[in-house]
């Protein structure tokens, strides 16, 4: 009874903070937090354009970019170009990824294969693949072949290295167990070695996806007759900055989609892994 005021006053700030905490949690669950920063940037950007701090030929307003995107979508040019770029990216990923995976597997399992090829591959890895563009244009012209080659070369190394690393790091005790329990080499590969290397292979895939888009952007910007990069370069000729900015945003969106896909694959195939459980 001696301190009635203090006991009454204490709960108030706590309740407020509790409420704020609840709101925070709810926002986080809906995913608002992930997107709050991009939205804020967008608002600031639009405000700068509206009040005349940014002129149209330096950076168009978000509304103008959205309008340009809408027009492109209506004309059908958007879908056609995105589709072309997507096909190039996938073809390059599949070809380069498959070769990288094959080499990684072979070199992880066989010492002979590793001795024959690893040194060469490690040397080739240190050449930035984009430095080959002049040569590639001489070889393939500006056809599909050039872009396919560059993308395939770019994705090859992360997939090769991570597949090799994954196989090398398999617990030898598990392999010994598999052998002593009578698994044939094929079964051992299917039940022990491949699943054991998979987390590492998927890390390689995520790296590869990043390199895939980067390579494609550069290749399409330098020499192409279709695709998102071509769309952007053509717009530059006519000072259509809204289309240029829109193209860049598409790349960002496609990169996000690719990353989300890789995450989804990780989540479904690595459910056994405590680190991916959630």
């Amino acid at each position: 009874m001696s301190t009635p005021t203090s006991t009454l006053a204490a709960p108030r700030p706590r309740r407020v903070s509790l409420l704020a905490g609840k709101l925070f949690k709810k926002l986080r669950r809906v995913g608002v937090l992930n997107w709050s920063l991009p939205i804020l940037l967008l608002v600031v950007w639009q405000a700068c354009s509206s009040f005349g701090y940014l002129t149209n030929n330096i950076l168009p307003s978000p509304a103008a970019v959205a309008l340009a995107g809408w027009k492109l979508a209506l004309s059908g040019a958007l879908v056609a170009n995105v589709w072309v770029s997507f096909l190039r990216a996938m073809a390059g990923l599949i070809i380069g990824g498959a070769i990288g995976f094959a080499f990684g597997f072979a070199n992880g399992l066989s010492d002979l294969s590793e001795k024959l090829t690893d040194t060469t591959l490690q040397m080739a890895r240190n050449i930035p693949h984009l430095a080959l563009i002049p040569l590639v244009i001489l070889w393939f012209g500006i056809d599909e072949g050039a872009k396919l080659f560059l993308v395939a070369l770019g994705v090859f190394f992360p997939i090769y290295l991570n597949t090799l690393h994954g196989i090398r790091n398999i617990d030898p005790q598990l392999v010994e167990m598999g052998r002593s329990y009578g698994l044939t080499p094929r079964e051992l590969l299917r039940r022990v070695i491949f699943p054991g290397a998979l987390p590492s292979i998927l890390v390689g895939l995520r790296y590869a996806l990043g390199i895939m888009w980067l390579t494609l952007i550069v290749a399409e910007t330098i020499a192409a007759q279709s695709g998102i990069g071509y769309m952007a370069m053509q717009a530059r000729e006519f000072m259509q900055t809204d289309i240029v900015v829109f193209s860049i945003l598409i790349y960002a969106a496609l990169g996000k989609v690719a990353d989300a896909t890789a995450r989804l694959i990780e989540k479904t195939t690595l459910a056994w892994h405590p680190a991916y459980k959630r």
């Binding site: 010994e176 094929r186 056994w272």
Partner: protein, 285 residues
């Protein structure tokens, strides 16, 4: 009340074919570089016997087990199962024979479960290179029932406790009805209570299936509780071969067992005054 008492699978009739196999070892030697770990070892294990091998660490007992299990090649000497030499690798060694039995299975110190396979698939590995079918699934469930884990068949290994993981490993070793089961200190990492439970489980399963069992352990009391015969290995040779002729189930800490344990421990510790074991490094004698 332990999980063993709750398992109806134990009351099932034993498989008439799952008898053990006899093992004959003559002049077995294994060296790593210039260090001799085993030298001139002779051993006869009759069909269905439970043999425990004790010794200090580094005395060669695990190497002997690895040789018996075919995980390693002897430098010299012969190993014969039921009088026949053995293809040391390939499906004829690890895989099941015509009657559906495998010859030798090992239970390792670590559970060695595949973390990416559910408990059921892990036990199925024990069948070797066999495609899964309703029959194999039935056998998996039976093997899991025998270790009291049938209801965990769909779990990932990482949710299981250490003792449960070893029970899954035991089910995996049992599913192919091996004729010889080699245990490489499988209970070493378990807590005292789980250890005792596992010892009882091992004994009941052995009494049911009557395979030949070879248990490597550093726990003399464990060896005496479970085995028909206890071998002491020192400096790569068998230096004590003790028949334990006591009725089962044996009570840990009974006067007879304690007396035998003291004898073995005296021997193990007494030797220390004359030669430090370290037999892997300096095999004298």
């Amino acid at each position: 009340m332990s999980f063993v008492d709750l398992c109806p699978a134990f009351e099932k009739n034993a498989d008439p074919f799952s008898d053990g196999v006899s093992l004959t070892i003559r002049g077995l030697a294994r060296s790593f570089g210039s260090t001799k770990v085993l030298s001139g070892l002779d051993l006869d294990v009759p069909t269905g016997q439970f043999v425990a091998i004790v010794g200090r660490s580094g005395c060669g007992k695990s190497t002997l087990l690895r040789l018996i299990a075919g995980l390693d090649e002897p430098t010299e000497g012969r190993l014969r199962f039921a009088g026949k030499a053995l293809a040391r690798s390939g499906p004829s060694f690890g895989g099941p024979n015509l009657a559906g039995h495998s010859l030798v299975r090992v239970m390792f110190q670590e559970p060695r479960l595949l973390p990416w396979a559910r408990v059921m698939a892990n036990v199925e590995i024990g069948l070797g290179a066999v495609e899964s079918s309703p029959q194999t699934r039935q056998r998996v469930i039976e093997a899991l029932e025998a270790v009291g884990l049938a209801e965990r068949a769909g779990e990932w290994p990482f949710v299981l406790s250490g003792g449960q993981k070893q029970r899954v490993a035991l089910a995996r070793a049992l599913i192919s009805r091996p004729q010889l089961l080699a245990f490489d200190e499988p209970l070493g990492a378990l807590d005292a209570l789980t250890r005792i439970e596992m010892q009882r489980l091992l004994e009941r399963i052995w009494l049911r299936d009557r395979f030949t069992a070879i248990l490597v352990t550093h726990d003399v009391m464990e060896a005496l509780t479970l085995a028909d015969r206890v071998l002491l290995i020192e400096s790569g040779r068998v230096t004590l071969d003790l028949a334990v002729d006591l009725p089962r189930p044996r009570r840990r800490g009974s006067a007879e067992l304690a007396q035998l344990e003291e004898g073995i421990l005296d021997r193990l510790l007494g030797d220390e005054q004359f030669e430090s074991c370290g037999s892997a490094r300096s095999p004298r004698r």
